[in-house]
Amino acid sequence: MQLPAKMIHSLFLVNSSGDIFLEKHWKSVVSRSVCDYFFEAQERASEPENVPPVIPTPHHYLISVLRHRIYFVAVIQSEVPPLFVIEFLHRVVDTFQDYFGVCTEAAIKDNVVVVYELLEEMLDNGFPLATESNILKELIKPPTILRTVVNTITGSTNVGEQLPTGQLSVVPWRRTGVKYTNNEAYFDVVEEIDAIIDKSGSTITAEIQGVIDACVKLTGMPDLTLSFMNPRLLDDVSFHPCVRFKRWEAERILSFIPPDGNFRLLSYHVSCQNLVAIPVYVKHNITFREGSSQGRFELTLGPKQTMGKGLEAVLISSQLPRGVLNTNLNPSQGTYNFDPVTKLLSWDVGKINPQKLPSLKGSMSLQAGASKPDENPTINIQFKIQQSALSGLKVNRLDMYGEKYKPFKGIKYMTKAGKFQVRT
């Protein structure tokens, strides 16, 4: 009698051309023909990212994520929380990236045995076992060219012989006995602004997704506290498990024993209710005349509320209507490119000089005789602002307890565009 199995049953990795290049079964083997349902959905989807994340089949459910142009397709047989599966898949992707530097089909194939060992270690009978990168690294050493050579010579292995120390401690995210000659703790405050700006330039929605990523290389068991100049900004926050929530609630101070290495300390969300400054504006005039085979295209960019910092790495992209055959545009700076097949216009602007605003002007040629396109292109803007967090979030101080040495500390701020869209 085969009973319905709980949790993740199998995992298939599918590349962009639709080939399964790896499969892993934690319970009994599920025939890879189950993926046919996935391929059907893939065919139906107009874009690779439009494949629905949950697909029902007669006996299973397929839950997939698309990362690095690889579909990670998990097979489950009965009621399992889909977010649980998706979060786990994300963890798998992160682990691969952590181990192999990149998460590509080639990298996975190059390290297939390690991949297999990792997957086995991460899930037992469908229950997540060890998903923290520092625990995994104690169990299975990441491959390096040097280690491969050394192992070949000495006959030693990639597999740790010791029980990972973090696995059962109260701080499972940190191993004991960490040692560095240079003790350093760096924090990056990175904010992404998502916004929709309407035709007339007014803001429809604007929100900031912020994260604080840390790179902490400190000896021993340091206990850190991080305080902010303006913690009130953070009313919607998600923490790394290391953060002591009670302390945050009571004092608005982040107190934690950090994991070793790179990790995301917290992510936060500043929504439209608070004031979200819009750092860039676009003046646009994109017009098609009825009965003419020409259209006008004019775009000018300028800085708005940038807190005195410059806009860098500005990149404009826009999906022009299907009727546009080609463009003849003239950028005042940077380079532009129009792909007549995908109709994607992209303009690499670079830095914006407030004294000399960049513009892109010219004409578009349309299919002769075709009617005027109905849809208005949306303009997508990417940019970066160095040394500034748009929300105004500022770290006040970072203190270390529990260890005697003096670490190097550093905080960096950056703002960039997330999904920043201007409708025309």
Partner: protein, 972 residues
């Protein structure tokens, strides 16, 4: 060719370093070769061979034939090799059960190894080998491992019990493993607890009636303790387990909620959603007037919003669940409409879900925004999405009555685009709008008829035919139109055929003389030439009716149809309750009952939300009708003829019952006698609302308990005038001519002593929509001053100089110059205290000087600050009463018209004025340069020089400043 050789070598070198070499062997006899290598004496070669076997296995090649050879490699002290062999065993033991027995001895030995890692690995692997013969040998090692001194082994063993149960449930019960597992819930290590919970939950799923997870307050307490310390995955198991518990009373419920809420800030979205599930369920037990209840409601919104900024797959699952949550508790996300606005590069599955939720959250307050968005979406490229957007416009019309007209005109605009599928969708939804609001929008039928030819989809054709039939008497050529459809009758889909039959019969009943032939034709087509039983039956029924009793036919066919309900696609309440108990699961994604998700479903228990069992004193009846009716008995009959509607509204809003809405003061009851009835209704409510406000705000009983009731009073009262006889109330007799904006007198900001001889005085003004800082610079020093420049610190409203300070000539000793500096409001923003504080730095050739000044906030009032009346009404009720503040202006001797025109000069716009018993009430709106709206109610009593002003604003911190402006403007 040398480069080619080199490349070849490189590749070889490259492949030697990685596992990809295992993929390269494609030649025949591969298995044979591997066999030889597996049996090699050299350890290294053996390991390489096992790796090759594993690699082949991962890509789906069948290497089961190597089973005995691989098992032979198991007896090794090399941990990596051992692991690899275990991997292989798990995959193939099932197909080679006899061979698998060979491995048992090694397993049993490994279960007693000194290294806990090996003990755990062995017990874990054994559990994965689904071979009956092996499971018999598993029991003893498993029993030991469950009591192992090392928690790592214990937690692994806990999972193994579930595995074993999956293979042989009877064995697990006979061996008493279930009891051991239950004991592990009290283990000292949180990870062990979490795994024990996970294992028990899994086992319990196949034993619905067993009392395995015997949850009682003690065990709940243990789980809650473990919750704080275990891994994120363990937290999910524990939270899902908690969700099955039913607390004894509201106190226990609250204490669990309190301990679960910190999980809402977890980075793992699955933890967050599981926590939301627990809270949504246990909240049901909390009395709604409890402070904690509203605190909890507020806490639920941010994490749900945060889920929407995650990866699209997570968003999708989150959105499906939010869809349930907004149906159950719309109040949680009612202010978060904007996060559901669609970005053009969202994946289609996210777009469609967002759209659905937008409609659910649509209300009178936000409908303008929603419609603007929907119209935008209707011009996008993706056909599915465009269709759904058009449908959404129709649904908004049905849901928010006030917006119906705007929706219809938007739909007509869209029909004008002539985009085929847009037109068809629009016609389908317009049919629904007709059904909801009969005899209101029929004027658009002509436009619809113009598009008859472009309809090629059955649903749109059927909708159009329905419209023609239903309104046949108003369409001159209805018979021609229907006849044109009749030509291709047999090629139409059933849906269209049925509709056509009914429409022609309707037409006949309305215009019997001209259409006899047509009806004959359709009846014979339906009954004689069709083999569709539904169509034939309907045809015969109509025929019989028409021939025997035309009057009865009229009664049947032209009967008045029930109006369609507000939201047709709401999930049925019992299912919704069950789904709320399953938030985060597949059931919640598919909105289907959980029993549909268990294969060979074995007695699934249906979960229900717990009922409220109060321990406290909260005794008020949840029945709104009795509560409201009972509290104001003597006033009820005379005041409000529309009281039923009012109660209806309250019920619909699904808000807390107004606990003790105090009887309206008798004076108001009296004064209304002479006025028209509807007006009276409004009066009393307004009176109700405002009079106790004079005293204190929060404490007034009429405001209802805490949140729910108070806003509910407002919409009901204000809805009435919109359509009814109260229009005149808002008819302004005529606001006097606007006067110029108030400009405060200049004051000295920077005395000369503090600035090496430079004195600065100034003021702020708004002239023709431009904010100006007007400065007088006086040089009281002995030397000439040059090179003036000015800068502002960040401030609350982003004020910044729009240009340089225009002091072109040097300023000689004792000279004075007046400069006017235009300001913009796009500078960097930082909240100041007080709000209107501005820190300024002025530089000249001598030094830099700093001073701070306060600007009247009135200069930020923009010219387009006059709000639409209806928007005003909606906004007023939408802003929570907590945001209302009240002030007194003393000694002001203006009458209300003079005040109004004076205020208008400063862009404070009077929207409506009404007079009650000599007291003038002015309703006013103000818009700040950063888009903040302030709504005001100014009460002026003739003969009383004290004004009362109530300000409502989403950003209540500006109220104080706004009040100061009122005072300044009115008194100058």
């Amino acid at each position: 060719m040398e480069w080619a050789n080199q490349l070849c070598e490189n590749r070889q070198f490259g492949s030697k370093m990685t596992d990809s070499k295992y993929f390269t062997t494609t030649k025949k006899g591969e298995i044979f070769e591997l066999k030889a290598e597996l049996n090699s004496d050299k350890k290294e070669k053996k390991k390489e061979a096992v790796k090759k076997v594993i690699a082949s296995m991962t890509v789906g090649k069948d290497v089961s034939a190597l089973f005995p050879d691989v098992v032979n490699c198991m007896q090794t002290d090399n941990l990596e090799l051992k692991k690899l062999v275990y991997l292989y065993l798990m995959n193939y033991a099932k197909s080679q059960p006899d061979m698998a027995i060979m491995a048992v001895n090694t397993f049993v030995k490994d279960c007693e190894d000194a290294n806990p890692l090996i003990r755990a690995l062995a017990v874990r692997t054994m559990g994965c080998i689904r071979v009956d013969k092996i499971t018999e040998y598993l029991c003893e090692p498993l029993r030991k491992c469950l009591k192992d001194e090392d928690p790592y082994v214990r937690k692994t063993a806990a999972v193994c019990v579930a595995k074993l149960h999956d293979i042989n449930a009877q064995l697990v019960e006979d061996q008493g493993f279930l009891d051991t597992l239950k004991d592990l819930i009290s283990d000292s290590n949180p990870m062990v607890v979490a795994n024990a919970v996970a294992a028990l939950s899994e086992i319990a799923e196949s034993h619905p009636n067993s009392n395995l997870l015997d949850l009682n307050p003690q065990s709940i307490n243990k789980l809650l303790t473990a919750l704080n310390e275990c891994t994120e995955w363990g937290q999910i198991f524990i939270l899902d387990c908690l969700a099955n518990y039913t607390p004894r009373d509201d106190r226990e419920s609250q204490s669990i909620c309190e301990r679960v809420t910190p999980r809402l800030s977890h980075a793992n979205s699955a933890v967050v959603l599981s926590a939301v599930k627990v809270l949504m369920k246990f909240m049901e037990m909390l009395p709604k007037d409890l402070d904690y209840y509203s605190t909890l409601l507020k806490k639920l919104a941010p994490p749900l919003v945060t889920l929407l900024s995650a990866e699209p797959e997570l968003q999708y699952v989150a959105l499906r669940n939010i869809n349930l949550i907004v149906q159950k508790r719309p109040e949680i996300l009612k202010h978060e409409m904007k996060v559901f606005f669609v970005k053009y590069n969202d994946p289609i599955y996210v777009k469609l879900e967002k759209l659905d939720i937008m409609i659910r959250l649509a209300s009178q307050a936000n409908i303008a925004q929603v419609l603007a968005e929907l119209k935008e979406y209707a011009t996008e490229v993706d056909v599915d999405f465009v269709r759904k957007a058009v449908r959404a416009i129709g649904r908004c019309a049905i849901k928010v009555e006030q917006s119906a007209e705007r929706c219809v005109s938007t739909l007509l605009d869209l029909i004008q685009t002539k985009v085929n599928y847009v037109v068809q969708e629009a016609i389908v939804v317009i049919k629904d709008i007709f059904r909801k609001y009969p005899n209101k929008y029929e004027s658009v039928i002509a436009t619809l008829c113009e598009n008859l030819d472009s309809l090629d989809e059955p649903e749109a054709r059927a909708a159009m035919i329905w419209i023609v039939g239903e309104y046949a008497e108003r369409i001159d050529n209805a018979d021609e139109l229907l006849e044109s459809f009749l030509e291709g009758f047999h090629d139409e889909s059933t849906q269209v055929q049925l509709q056509l039959l009914t429409a022609i019969v309707k037409l006949f009943l309305k215009k019997p003389t001209e259409t006899q032939e047509l009806v004959q034709q359709v009846l014979s087509l339906a009954t004689q030439d069709s083999d569709n039983p539904d169509l034939r039956d309907r045809g015969y029924i109509y025929w019989r009716l028409l021939s025997t009793d035309p009057v009865a036919a009229k009664e049947v066919v032209l009967a008045e149809k029930p109006l369609i309900s507000e939201e047709t696609d709401l999930i049925e309440p019992t299912l919704l309750e069950e789904l709320i108990c399953h938030i985060g699961t597949l059931a919640s994604v598919y909105h289907k009952p959980p029993s549909a998700f268990v294969e060979g479903s074995r007695g699934v228990m249906h979960k229900r939300l717990p009922a409220r069992t109060g321990s406290g004193e909260s005794t008020e009846s949840p029945d709104v009708g009795t509560a409201a009716g009972g509290s104001a008995p003597e006033a009820a009959p005379s005041i409000i003829p529309s009281q039923g509607d009012l109660l209806g509204d309250l019920l619909n809003l699904d808000m807390a019952p107004p606990t003790t809405s105090g009887p309206p003061p008798p004076t108001t009851g009296m004064q209304m006698g002479g006025m028209d009835l509807l007006g009276g209704g409004l009066d009393s409510l307004m009176g109700d609302e405002s009079e106790p406000l004079g005293g204190d705000i929060g404490g007034s009983p009429a405001m209802g308990a805490g949140f729910g009731a108070a806003p509910a009073v407002m919409p009901a009262s204000l809805n009435a005038p919109v359509g009814g006889g109260l229009g005149d109330l808002f008819d302004l007799g005529g606001v006097g001519m606007p006067m110029g904006a108030y400009i405060p007198p200049k004051i000295v900001w920077l005395p000369a002593m503090k600035a090496k001889g430079l004195e600065i005085s100034g003021t702020f003004a708004r002239r023709a929509g431009v904010i100006q800082m007007e400065l007088i610079l006086t040089n009281k020093a002995m030397s000439v001053m040059t090179d003036f420049a000015i800068q502002f610190n960040r401030n609350s409203f982003g004020l910044a100089p729009a240009g340089p300070l225009q002091v072109l000539t040097p300023l000689g000793p004792n000279q004075t110059i007046e400069v006017s500096l235009p300001l913009s409001t796009v500078g960097p923003v930082m909240k100041m205290d007080p709000l209107n504080n501005l820190q300024v730095a002025v530089k000249n050739n001598i030094d830099v000087f700093y001073f701070s000044c306060q600007y009247p906030i009135s200069m930020l009032f923009v010219e387009d600050g006059k709000m639409e009346r209806q928007v005003f009404l909606a906004t007023w009720k939408d802003i929570p009463n907590d945001n209302e503040s009240q002030f007194q202006i003393k000694d002001c001797h203006l009458n209300s018209d003079a005040a109004s025109s004076k205020l208008q000069g400063s862009n404070i716009f009077t929207i409506a004025k009404r007079t009650v018993e000599g007291q003038d009430m002015l309703y006013m709106s103000i818009k700040l340069s950063n888009g903040i709206w302030v709504l005001a109610e100014l009460r002026v009593q003739a003969g009383n020089s004290n004004y009362t002003i109530s300000l409502k604003c989403r950003a209540p911190e500006v109220s104080q400043c706004v009040f100061q402006c009122y005072e300044a403007v009115l008194k100058n």
